[in-house]
């Protein structure tokens, strides 16, 4: 088990390193890295400052050493678009909003998906089950950003139930969270449905029924508790997906998180902020993947041996 964890951790480190290498190389592959790092409108003092910060006058290998040692300390330079802020500081400032939205989206998708998944397993091959399948199919086919706009049009513009965009109280979070969680609803629902079907077939369920337990108690207490194991391990994967999905959702609803930050930075050609966000997100994404793998290996010993 320890060997497996060590191997997977090493692999994750390697992946983050590759991502940082991509960032480093992309800034320099087009010739003058200053053209990439700063927009054309930037003044000469900006160019000089950035050039000095990253050591662009030095050979490439030295530049890489500078980049790596700064990156390890979380120093990705200062922002051009938001003067007076360090790139990493901006990420730290915006991250809580993203985590808040992702957490709420996860909650909503579980609240929606769990009952639908359970009911469609219990009422297999009924119209209800078919409806659930259609929801799952739609979940895979709807572009998330478009769903966001449609929700905004119906519930904010026409019905006026929620504000169209921005950040404030809970009502600001409902539409973005549904948009972000929608794709996961389909995934969780299918997982719950298939593992519920397995559990419903097992011996102990028959026993609870023979005992004369109320049907709702058999399903919602005994079956669900056993069927929840597979979906629970899936949640970490979802967490990773939600983080990257927030880029799209936040720019639809102007939600002031890291996702919106990176899109704004790309538009303003503020590369130092872009690289900070990308490395932080890649780190979170890869770390959640690692956690899932370890969790799986813990639950299913066969995986460790592969």
């Amino acid at each position: 088990m320890q060997r497996y964890i060590a191997k997977r951790a090493l692999q994750s480190l390697l992946t983050i390193w590759v991502m940082s290498l991509v960032v480093f190389a992309l800034a320099r592959v087009t010739g003058n890295p200053l053209d990439v790092m700063l927009p054309l409108e930037a003044g000469p003092e900006d160019f000089e400052r950035v050039s000095k910060h990253w050591g662009f006058d030095k050979p490439l290998t030295t530049q890489y050493v500078i980049f790596l040692s700064k990156a390890v300390q979380g120093d990705f330079g200062t922002s051009w678009k938001w003067p007076g802020h360090s790139a990493m500081g901006l990420v730290g400032q915006r991250l809580p909003a993203t985590l808040q939205l992702a957490g709420f989206a996860l909650l909503i998708s579980i609240v929606i998906a769990l009952p639908i998944g359970v009911l469609s397993a219990v009422m297999k091959d009924t119209p209800w089950d078919t409806a659930a399948k259609i929801i799952a199919l739609l979940g895979q086919s709807l572009p998330g950003f478009w769903l966001g706009i449609v929700l905004m049009w119906i519930f904010a513009v026409h019905l006026g139930w929620f504000p169209t965009s921005g950040k404030g109280g809970l009502q600001y979070m409902v539409l973005p969270a549904i948009t972000l969680g929608w794709f996961q609803v389909a995934a969780i629902m299918r997982l719950v449905r298939s593992s519920m079907l397995d559990v419903l077939d097992s011996e102990f369920v028959k026993l609870t029924r023979i005992k004369g337990l109320a049907e709702w108690k058999v399903i919602w207490k005994h079956c669900l508790r056993n069927a929840a194991i597979a979906p629970v391990t899936f949640f970490a994967i979802i967490a990773g997906v939600l983080m990257t999905g927030s880029v799209v959702t936040e720019s639809v609803f102007s939600w002031p998180g890291t996702g919106l930050l990176v899109v704004d930075a790309v538009r303003a050609r503020d590369f130092q902020v872009v690289q900070a966000v990308v490395i932080v997100f890649a780190g979170i994404f890869i770390l959640t993947n690692l956690m899932v793998d370890i969790l799986y290996a813990y639950l299913d010993p066969r995986i460790r041996l592969r």
Binding site: Q11, S12, L14, T15, V18, M19, V22, V23, L26, A27, V29, T30, V36, L137, L138, Q140, S141, L142, P143, G144, F145, W146, I149, V150, M152, W153, V157, T164, G240, M243, T244, V247, V248, S251, V252, V262, V263, A265, V266, R267, R269, F271, V274, Q275, V277, V278, F281, A282, F285, I286, N289
Partner: protein, 298 residues
């Protein structure tokens, strides 16, 4: 004897053709019809089918609503956008863009993936572990972010989008082909080919590859929908195709700030994406069940 009968019969009654016809008759009608009318016909015949030029508009006709709304006219069935360009024409040309992007990306990604997968499975050993390590890394890269860095560095263009998609797509083909190659290379006909003096390349291309094609068709079909979704998301973020390309994702982005005054600008391109991807997923599921039940979990 068999060859004689085969030659005297008309080409369309041979057993292979008959079987293909029987298969074709069982094709799912709704997805195939949807795809034909939404993707294939518009993409191939865009200049003939589209009523207007997708890039030229007149400001006098800007933000005309669709024909059934008040103020709409039959001149622009789905209305116009804020530059007065005909939405229907832009959606029709958008099908061409989506199809071109996914065809090129899947073709290039597929070739790279298939080549590396064949080598990985066939040679094994160090080559295999190196390629599989690359596959693992490429599958764990965060998609949208990779695209954003690339675009921040070199700017949005058709080439950038294709490059991002290829980086994301090749690994799945490599993994699939490697897995199948591992079992196929142990079969008798491969050993016989080797005894007959076939080179490694010839064995991979002529003997192993044809046996992987079914699985590849299924994977490619399922991926077209994924690529269309991804490309539209990238274009929506401004990290995909540059304006004024009539890409569905860009059209939705244009309509975002008009949501209060002109809902149709973003609604129709979104519907086009949804129906196309839905049809592709249905067709992909059907192909998987009929060509390659092994792939249930892909």
């Amino acid at each position: 004897m068999a060859t004689v009968t085969a030659r005297t019969l008309p080409w369309y009654s041979g057993p292979r053709v008959k079987q293909a016809m029987r298969q074709a008759r069982r094709l799912p009608v709704v997805p195939v019809a949807l795809l034909t009318f939404l993707l294939v016909i518009p993409a191939l015949l865009a200049p003939q089918v589209a009523p207007y030029d997708p890039l030229k508009g007149s400001l006098a006709k800007r933000l005309k609503p669709p024909v059934w709304e008040e103020g709409g006219s039959s001149a622009h069935l789905l209305g116009t956008d804020k530059l007065g360009r005909d939405l229907l024409s832009r959606i029709i040309y958008g099908a061409r863009v989506s199809l071109a992007v996914s065809a090129v990306a899947i073709f290039v990604g597929g070739i790279i993936g298939i080549t590396l997968g064949l080598m990985s499975g066939y040679f094994g050993g160090r080559v295999d572990s190196l390629i599989m390590r690359l596959v693992d890394i490429s599958l764990s890269l965060p998609t949208i972010l990779l695209a954003l860095v690339l675009v921040a560095a070199v700017g949005p263009s058709f080439g950038t989008v294709i490059a991002v998609l290829v980086v994301l797509l090749w690994a799945r083909y490599a993994r699939l082909v490697r897995g199948e190659t591992l079992s196929i290379k142990e079969r008798d006909f491969v050993a016989r080919a080797r005894v007959a003096g076939a080179s490694h390349t010839r064995i991979m291309v002529r003997y192993i590859f044809p046996n992987v094609v079914n699985s590849l068709v299924v994977l490619a079909t399922l991926q077209v929908g994924y690529v269309i979704l991804l490309e539209s998301a990238l274009s929506f973020l401004g990290a995909g195709l540059p304006r004024p390309t009539p890409a569905w994702g860009l059209m939705i982005a244009d309509g975002r700030e008009l949501i209060v005054t002109a809902w149709w600008v973003s609604m129709f391109p979104g519907l086009a994406i949804m129906l196309t991807v839905l049809a592709l997923n249905l067709l992909g599921d059907w192909l998987r069940d009929h060509l390659d039940p092994k792939l249930r979990n892909v």
